[in-house]
């Protein structure tokens, strides 16, 4: 696992992200419940040692609906190491580990919502 994504116990999702991107684009790996935004980039490079090639990870993410432009909201996280996370991608709920979530960059909205709240918003349809 790359140093950037090691989550210390005192890790706080709203804190400034390690890459310091001013535009609010952060990897999904560092998001917490209630964080929502739009996927801006999906690569196969998660920053961790993966059992599958980058191209393969990218295709798997795409097939599960992690595609540029999809809305995303973090719904839940596990107890230990706050891993894995459950997210809503458009209207599909998906569970994944934070390490793989490192391959998804998200433009997060400013505000945060209560964890576990249900979103009924559908993007521009």
């Amino acid at each position: 696992m790359s140093e950037a994504f090691v989550l210390s116990p005192e890790f706080e999702p709203v804190a400034v992200d390690p890459t310091g991107d001013p535009a609010g684009v952060r990897p999904l790996a560092v998001a917490g419940p209630g964080d929502r935004g739009v996927i801006v980039k999906v690569t196969g490079v998660s920053g961790a040692a993966e059992a599958v090639a980058a191209e393969e990870l990218e295709r798997r993410l795409l097939e599960m609906g992690f595609v540029e432009g999809a809305t995303i909201e973090v719904l839940h996280q596990g107890l230990f190491g706050r891993d894995p996370i459950a997210v809503r991608v458009d209207d599909t709920r998906v569970a994944l580990r934070r390490r793989e979530a490192g391959a998804v960059s998200v433009l997060f909205e400013g505000g945060r919502r209560e964890a576990g709240a249900v979103s009924v918003k559908f993007d521009g349809r």
Binding site: A51, V52, L75, G78, P84, R93, G116, V118
Partner: protein, 639 residues
């Protein structure tokens, strides 16, 4: 190629127009959780056949049905997938079947693509892939009642035009829309359009993106968002996926399940046990004494009985698993357990196989098929027999009953219960340690991604659960029976031949091959505190763990059907030291005293390597554990 399908294919080619028509070949494809199996059950009812695809351990489910027009159809239920780009052996079967490349299978004449009407986004991309294959298909929008209840509006006409395929709305659990579906399928088969050349190839990431964009365009054009979207799933998840409450609920659920497996099954198991014991006694009483009678009674009947006795537990276990799967909770359980299992180097999906192994390692090992990654799957298979299966219980009960006093500890805990708990805990802890060692020392490969859809919660449909339960039970009986029966016969041969010489005084088993092997290796077992009787019991005990109890009865020549365990336990108490007894328990936690399990591992891995590895590591662990237990106990004065 199976003979019947082969004939069907050739006849169809030559006499297509003549009556009666050969059954049409149809295959079901779709995303996981789309209700595909429910639709398959609704279409084919009880006329299903479950087998394996040639050469791979993927389940092949086929059913026969008669369309309203009288046309026969063979329907194949293909493993669920998000893409034709296969990642697991299961998905490879789906891809090859759809492409008509599957060895031993005739290509389907038409496909039914099953989609959850309330969750179309991902399946549309799969539909676009199917379109490239060029095989005629119908899109079945399943669970359409839920879509209607949510006020989801789908422009069926436009969607059908965009996809170039007929669309049918179905509610599999209520059998709605099925005649319409079959009519459309028949139409496709009858049209016999010259099959378009397949232009499908494994898509690159860029092509998947393009297909996604196209699917998104179609989705936006044809589907109006629901007026009353499902909010229940989110609310339930708020509780069930809560980091702390969710885990507590899962543990409670497991506890209830565990209790049910052991308490609900007991009357049925006792009944089966008594029934077979009576049958053996009856056979012995009414057939002339001799080899044939002994073979029928002790080899065949006892063998069948030893398989059947676990059926009640396995049915209850499967019932819970099916309920959890159909309700959508199973994916949540994997989510909650992933990190805990991951710490030991196991995949989140290894959870169910390991849970099943508490009843019996055989269904547990069979269910490792859900794990995509080979190393993950092999690790799970290797540690599954360390979970305390129910066949160990008779052995544990006998020894604990004989040697552990009925003290109460700390006011309310029974010492016997504590020892039992300790044995279970050692099994679990050692399984986690072994998998940790395997994944950190032997296979230091990187970790397989964990990504799974969390489906919408649904009430399990009783009929569907029942049908799947019967299918599971049939599979277990067929597979286990095929492996266990011959082994039971083998063990009978080993413990029967050669006969004791004239005027022999000891029990007959002492003179058999099993007895001799036992006495031969007895010196090897002396350092762990086993006497030769214990060692002899281990040999037939290879057939199934609980057989050792019966063999101990035989070698100590305990007679009488009733109170056998009571008499035996008193006898053992006088013959064995406490240290030997504890060492025997430790042996049973680890030893691969179950040839059927090794047989299933051979079958599931298609190689003798893994059963050998399993046998060697488990025997070594058992010897080590018994050695330590024995010597510590002796040092503490229990020798």
């Amino acid at each position: 190629m199976t003979p019947d399908i082969g004939v069907a294919a050739t006849v169809t080619d030559t006499s297509r127009k003549s009556q009666p028509l050969e059954p049409a070949r149809v295959a079901l494809v779709g995303n996981p959780n789309s209700g595909k199996t429910a639709l398959f059950n609704a279409l084919t009812g009880s006329r299903q056949k479950v087998a394996n695809y040639a050469g791979v351990t993927v389940e092949r489910k086929e059913g026969v049905l008669t369309a309203p027009s009288g046309r026969q159809m063979r329907v194949l239920d293909l493993p669920g997938t998000y893409s034709l780009r296969a990642r697991s052996p299961d998905e490879a079967v789906t891809r090859d079947a759809v492409l008509g490349r599957l060895a031993g299978e005739a290509a389907p004449e038409a496909l039914i693509c099953v989609a959850d009407a309330t969750n179309l986004r991902l399946v549309l991309r799969l539909v676009l892939e199917l379109k490239q294959v060029g095989r005629p298909f119908v899109l079945a929008l399943n669970m359409f009642d839920i879509a209607q209840r949510q006020g989801l509006r789908i422009d069926l006409e436009r969607l059908s035009k965009e996809l170039g395929a007929p669309i049918v709305t179905t509610v599999a659990t209520r059998k709605r829309g099925l005649p319409d579906l079959l009519e459309k399928v028949e139409g496709l088969v009858a049209a016999q359009k010259p099959e378009a050349e397949s232009v499908w190839r494994e898509p690159s990431a860029a092509e998947i993106r393009a297909a996604h964009a196209e699917a998104q365009r179609i989705f936006k054009a044809c589907v109006k968002p629901p007026e009353r979207p499902d909010t229940v799933t989110g609310k339930i998840d708020g509780v069930l996926l809560h980091p702390v409450a969710g885990l507590l609920i899962l543990l409670t659920l497991l506890f209830v399940m565990f209790q049910a497996v052991f308490t609900w099954a007991t009357p049925a198991m006792d009944g089966i046990d008594a029934g077979f014991a009576a049958l053996v006694a009856f056979t012995n009483a009414h057939l002339p004494h001799g080899l044939l009678t002994s073979f029928i009674a002790d080899g065949l009947i006892a063998g069948v009985g030893s398989v059947l006795v676990f059926l009640p537990q396995i049915l209850i276990l499967f019932f819970f698993i099916l309920m959890l799967e159909d309700s959508g909770y199973m994916a949540r359980a994997a989510f909650l357990m992933d990190r805990i299992m991951g710490g030991a180097g196991l995949h989140g999906r290894a959870f169910i196989p390991l849970l099943s192994s508490f009843a019996c390692a055989i269904p547990g090992i069979m269910s490792t098929r859900v794990i995509d990654n080979r190393e993950d799957r092999l690790t799970t298979i290797l540690v599954a027999p360390l979970m305390t299966c129910s066949a160990r219980i008779p052995v544990y009960t006998l020894i604990i009953g004989a040697f552990i006093p009925q003290h109460t500890v700390a006011g309310f805990l029974s010492l016997q219960g504590l020892v039992m708990f300790g044995l279970y805990a050692s099994g679990i802890v050692s399984a986690l340690l072994v998998s940790f060692v395997i994944r950190r020392v032997f296979w230091r490969g990187a970790v397989e991604p964990f990504m799974m859809e969390l489906p919408t919660y649904r009430w399990p449909e009783p009929r569907n659960v029942l049908m799947n339960l019967l299918t599971r039970a049939r599979i277990f009986m067929a597979r286990a029976g095929r492996i266990i029966l011959p082994l039971m016969v083998l063990v009978w041969v080993l413990s029967t031949f050669p006969y004791p010489p004239e005027g022999a005084t000891g029990p007959a088993i002492d003179y058999s091959i099993a007895g001799r092997v036992g006495q031969f290796i007895a010196p090897l077992m002396a350092p762990i505190g086993f006497n030769w009787q214990m060692t002899v019991a281990l040999i037939p005990g290879m057939a199934a763990r609980e057989v050792a109890v019966a063999v101990l009865g035989t070698v100590y020549a305990v007679s009488g059907e009733d109170g056998e365990t009571g008499a035996l336990s008193t006898l053992l108490k006088n013959q064995w030291s406490l240290a030997s007894a504890l060492s025997f328990l430790a042996w049973y936690v680890f030893a691969p005293q179950c040839m059927p399990t090794l047989g299933v591992v051979k079958r599931e891995t298609n190689s003798w390597v893994w059963p050998t590895v399993m046998f060697v590591y488990m025997v070594s662990l058992a010897y080590l554990a018994s050695f330590v237990t024995y010597h510590v106990a002796v040092a503490l004065g229990a020798g």
